[in-house]
């Protein structure tokens, strides 16, 4: 083996060592993450959250064009903290969980706004309805953990959440605030 080959072999090995962890080890840390939402029922704020969700993340602040997020929420894990309401959510009028067990967000682009702020565009699919959304994101890093948080306002009727009598927005407002805080490991250092 001549030196040239050795050099290129070493280079390849070190590149793999750098590239692989970044690509393979970005993980969502569910225990430190949360996705909650708030909706108003006749003016009364009602909070709910999703207990089960997961994400495949490949993010680098220096490589936004190749960054990608695919996020799934297990709809059956939705809770409003009141059993009499939770038992209604899986029904066809609301989430139709049997037919649409997952909600999904797939990113199509990242835009840096500076100061740790980003805009992620993508498709949000809930209950079989797919809509373009722009998610505002603030990212912070502490040690090995990166936290991405933000609030995404959505319209429930765009996703047919609450049909029939429940489509009445004087009863349940159309606006839903989705508040998320996602803890991630393996994200390359932010600028």
């Amino acid at each position: 083996m001549n030196t040239r080959h050795l050099a290129s072999a070493l280079l390849a090995a070190s590149l793999a060592a750098i590239a692989l962890p970044a690509a393979a080890q970005q993980k969502l840390l569910p225990a430190q993450s949360s996705i909650a939402f708030e909706i108003k029922q006749m003016g009364v704020p009602v909070q709910g959250h999703f207990k089960k969700f997961d994400a495949q993340v490949n993010f680098a602040a220096t490589k936004l064009t190749s960054s990608k997020v695919n996020f799934t929420v297990d709809i059956a894990s939705t809770t409003l903290g009141a059993p009499e309401m939770d038992s209604e959510l899986p029904k066809a009028t609301w989430f139709n969980t049997a037919k649409f067990p997952q909600a999904q967000f797939t990113s199509s682009g990242f835009k840096a706004l500076g100061g740790g702020k980003y805009e992620v565009t993508g498709k949000l699919a809930i209950k079989g309805q797919s809509r373009d959304v722009t998610v505002p994101l603030t990212m912070t890093q502490a040690g090995a953990t990166t936290t991405a948080s933000g609030v995404l306002p959505i319209k429930r009727l765009a996703f047919k959440i609450g049909e029939g009598d429940w489509a009445d927005t004087s009863m349940v407002a159309d606006d839903v605030q989705v508040k998320f805080k996602l803890a991630l490991s393996g994200i390359p250092k932010l600028p």
């Binding site: 029922q41 006749m42 003016g43 009364v44 009602v46 909070q47 009141a82 309401m85 209604e88 429940w166």
Partner: protein, 190 residues
């Protein structure tokens, strides 16, 4: 039959207009709320149920505010004393029952809505008056506390209904058994 104005002294024999309006208005509100309260709790999860719960809460807070006004009015505008013709024939126990019923009713006028409001707070549903004005929580959110308070709201409301029943029975007795015209104190004058 019409007495001259010098013989009549309406201030001394009748409740004043504000007191009468509040009495009859709040009597109607109490009956309506009790009816709605009993009916709504048995409804299945529906917009109708949600609507009635909110109306019940809005009416409850309104009732509380008007009762406070009523009490302040009562303390600054003393109600007429019982007519001598009535007190003369009233046994001592009836006199005590008359005072006890009124005091207990006032106590419950406050206790029933306040406990309901506290229940709503503890259950995690802050009261938003007429869907517009968010009211402070009386208790922090705690489902176990909420479950403890819930039967208390009902129990106190039932006690209030029992007292109101007694109050109405006494009014009927005075009107049609004793025929002493006591009821006219709470009716607009001719």
């Amino acid at each position: 039959m019409t007495p001259s104005s010098s013989e009549r002294s309406p201030q001394a024999t009748r409740y004043n207009t504000v007191a009468m309006v509040l009495h009859w208005l709040l009597a109607l509100v109490i009956l309506a709320m009790f009816g709605i309260g009993i009916y709504m709790t048995d409804l299945p999860f529906s917009p109708q149920r949600l609507k009635l719960y909110n109306w019940h809460k809005w009416a409850g807070v309104t009732f509380l505010a008007l009762t406070l006004l009523r009490l302040v009015w009562r303390m600054t505008h003393r109600p007429p004393a019982l007519p001598v013709a009535v007190t003369r024939t009233m046994p001592g126990w009836q006199h005590r029952a008359y005072h006890a019923t009124h005091h207990l009713m006032y106590l419950l006028f406050f206790a029933v809505p306040l406990v309901g409001w506290a229940y709503s707070s503890a259950a995690g549903f802050p009261v938003v008056w007429f869907g517009q004005i968010p009211l402070p929580d009386l208790l922090p959110v705690n489902k176990e506390v909420a479950e403890l308070i819930k039967p208390l709201h009902k129990l106190l409301a039932l006690a209030l209904m029992a007292l109101a029943g007694l109050h109405i029975a006494a009014a009927i007795k005075h009107q049609w058994v004793d025929r002493d015209g006591l009821l006219s104190r709470m009716l607009p004058g001719r």
